[in-house]
């Protein structure tokens, strides 16, 4: 079955939903923001680790639970519902996946247990431009006697403000735009020459810019084949996209439910505003898009676990649909709340702000429509 959860997945979903609802409501993010925490929240991270969430994609042999992407998707969806600020995507999905898929036995043994336990938080440092563009990497890794020297800059690194280690994608060969010549390097956040500049982002969850100035890395810090990272990178990114689509679906669903509730309680002209037919149709259309998106996200997650060969197409489908849906729903959420939705006191704005980050990260709807079209041969 593709869409029906097994008992383990269901249990995890229930746990994640309760945890998000009870311990990470939107007011929690609001509190972090008002305390200038920039999304950094060690106590929450520790609780996530206790629940085993960072180890969902880590094989049991490395102290994880190895439950796969469908399971991870449930947690991401739960976190999306309440806009939880956690490094789960950057560390538990992207970093874990690079090391699990590309790392040597020694590297896995060293890092996966620490990532699974939350002792170490990782981030993937890939994009160098304002728009996601995986092959558009200019950061240079130059061979020196003992290893490589890294020079370059990375922008808006998800979880970068949180991370203890970075997987830096750098070019060991060729030029920006080429698939061949990319390699993964594991760089600790305190490496000499690495500057991490936290970003104060619109969604109050934070991110970071990196600059690498003659950062020296050893052979042991190379993850996977030199020059040959791009295939694995694509696999890793597709996991990230499916996970982010799940999170996005969660946010859109929660914002919709909040709006529906408002339609059922707010009165104007002596009538519940939800009894106006024009708003009813708009609500029905949002519901429709959410249902369609749910199917695409569910299918992408299970296709990854079952290693279907159309994963790229399915993750682009899920990410584009989720992006468009959260865009629609976040606009309607503010509009249908009217003036109150424009105030900072209300949660509507938090959903809208997070929505644009969810849309842009790992490729927006337009990026994924382009990719989907190319994969379909037109």
């Amino acid at each position: 079955m593709t869409f029906v959860l097994n008992d383990e997945q269901k249990m995890l979903r229930d746990t994640a939903m309760s945890f998000a609802r009870d311990e990470l409501p939107v007011s929690h993010l609001r509190g972090l923001r008002d305390n200038q925490a920039n999304g950094i929240d060690p106590a929450t991270k520790d609780k996530l680790a206790e629940l085993g969430f960072f180890g969902v994609l880590v094989p049991e042999a490395y102290d994880g639970v190895g439950l796969g992407m469908v399971a991870m998707g449930q947690i991401m969806e739960a976190q999306g519902r309440t806009l939880a600020a956690t490094p789960l995507l950057s560390s538990g999905v992207l970093t874990v996946s690079v090391i699990d898929l590309a790392g040597s036995e020694a590297q896995k043994t060293e890092w996966l247990p620490k990532l699974a336990s939350g002792e170490v938080v990782g981030a993937l440092a890939l994009d160098e431009n304002a728009h996601h563009s995986p092959l558009n990497v200019s950061t240079e890794a130059e061979r020196n006697g003992q290893g490589y020297t890294l020079n370059g800059a990375k922008t808006f690194v998800l979880g970068g403000h949180y991370a203890d280690i970075f997987i830096v994608v750098a070019r060991t060969f060729g030029e920006a735009g080429q698939a061949h010549g990319l390699s993964f390097f594991l760089v600790p956040s305190d490496a000499p020459g690495l500057t991490v500049t936290p970003l104060e982002t619109v969604d109050s969850q934070g991110a970071a810019n990196l600059t690498l100035e003659n950062v020296a890395v050893s052979e042991e810090q190379i993850i996977g084949p030199v020059d040959g990272a791009s295939d694995i990178l694509e696999t890793v990114l597709d996991r990230g996209r499916a996970a982010l689509a799940s999170e996005t679906l969660g946010s859109a669903s929660a914002a919709f439910e909040m709006t529906l509730e408002y339609l059922k309680t707010r009165k104007q002209f002596g009538q519940l505003i939800g009894s106006f037919q024009a708003l009813q149709h708009r609500a029905a259309i949002m519901f429709t898009e959410l249902e369609l998106t749910r199917s695409c996200v569910g299918h992408a997650l299970s296709a990854i676990d079952e290693q279907h060969n159309d994963v790229p197409q399915l993750t682009s489908l899920a990410k584009a649909m989720a992006s468009d849906t959260v865009h629609l729903v976040s606009r309607e959420t503010v509009q249908l709340h009217g003036g109150i939705g424009m105030t900072d006191d209300h949660d509507a704005g938090f959903y809208m702000k997070r929505a644009r980050v969810q849309e842009a990260m790992l490729g927006g709807a337009s990026f994924h429509r382009d990719r989907f079209a190319s994969l379909n041969g037109f």
């Binding site: 869409f3 037919q277 369609l292 695409c296 299918h299 429509r369 079209a373 037109f378």
Partner: protein, 310 residues
């Protein structure tokens, strides 16, 4: 001869089993099962479309027979049908509670049919006129004034048969696609992408919605097998299927350019002409079997729990 099985076997048959009396079952069920009798259904009227219960075809009790006067529309294959099952008004003082359900022979005196030509060309639909049609008293199915209950059940059967797959076949699957035509007629860049990026993006978006619809049908099936409630999801299908099919064919016509603007003749390809007819025919998808507006009302009220004005 074409058995017109669907109306008898899939719709009227099940309803008759539920609502008919023993005699009626004995008389009609064997015929239905063998496909001997071609049935048509008399539901919509010119003044009763979305508001089916507004129907006005008059049925008077004349002691030893019913007397029918009025008009039906969108009666599929009425011109080829042997019998009709038909909603008539037996009480005009109440709306839903004044409707009865009759069956009768289309060869009866006073029955006339006229095929309806659509914007896309000929169609199986007819207008059907009843001018003092006499119907034997024992051909009332269910209770007098109890026809609306049967009608509702039959509409359920109809809507579930207008599924995603059902609609798409109207458009003629197996035809070339919008992206095929775009590649041929607009050209591609050096990476094989349709040169018109604006059109390409819209085609991709439509394909995505189409794919999302198929996946949703699959999700529902799996969830139903797993014993989960799927009614909420099902309610969106007809609306999405109609919109997706219409958008798909609009894009196909756009991609075809002037090749998609023919009506007949050898200067146009058969594929192009078929696309044009399919595009026009698809406009009915959001009207027949419950308009999209009614679909959205249903989602808003039954699924989302939004109320009417109080």
């Amino acid at each position: 001869r074409y058995p017109l099985a669907s109306f008898g076997l899939w719709m009227f048959g099940p309803a008759l089993l539920e609502f008919g009396n023993e005699e009626q079952k004995k008389k009609y069920i064997p015929q239905i099962v063998k496909g001997e009798i071609r049935w048509c259904q008399g539901y919509s009227e010119p003044g009763a479309g979305s508001d089916l219960a507004g129907l006005q075809t008059k049925c008077e009790d004349k002691g030893d027979h019913w007397l029918i006067n009025g008009q039906k529309v969108w009666t599929s294959y009425a011109d080829q049908a042997d019998w009709i099952f038909c909603l008539v008004r037996t009480d005009s003082s109440v709306k839903h509670g004044g409707i009865s359900f009759l069956v009768f022979d289309m060869a009866s005196e006073g029955v006339e049919t006229r095929p309806i030509k659509l914007i896309s060309g000929s169609s199986p639909f007819c207008e059907t006129f009843f001018d003092n049609v006499k119907v034997p008293k024992d051909q009332l199915v269910g209770e007098l004034n109890g026809g609306w209950q049967i009608a509702k059940r039959l509409l359920q059967f109809e809507r579930s048969s207008l599924s995603a797959g059902g609609l798409k076949s109207i458009g003629g699957s197996g035809m070339l696609t919008a992206q095929d035509y775009a590649k041929m007629n607009v050209g591609v860049d050096d990476q094989g992408r349709v040169a018109d990026g604006d059109l390409r993006g819209r085609i991709a978006e439509n394909m995505m919605h189409d794919r999302a619809l198929s996946l949703t049908v699959r999700r529902m099936t799996e969830e139903a097998q797993a014993g989960q409630e799927v009614g909420h999801t099902a309610s969106i299908l007809k609306y999405v299927a109609a919109k997706s099919n219409q958008d798909r064919l609009e894009l196909m016509i756009e991609a075809l350019g002037s090749n998609g603007l023919g009506w007949a003749g050898e200067s146009f390809t058969d594929d192009g002409l078929a696309a044009t007819r399919a595009w026009l025919r698809s406009k009915g998808n959001s009207i027949e079997g419950g308009t999209s507006e009614v679909n959205l009302n249903v989602v808003a009220k039954r699924v989302l729990g939004l109320l009417e004005h109080q």
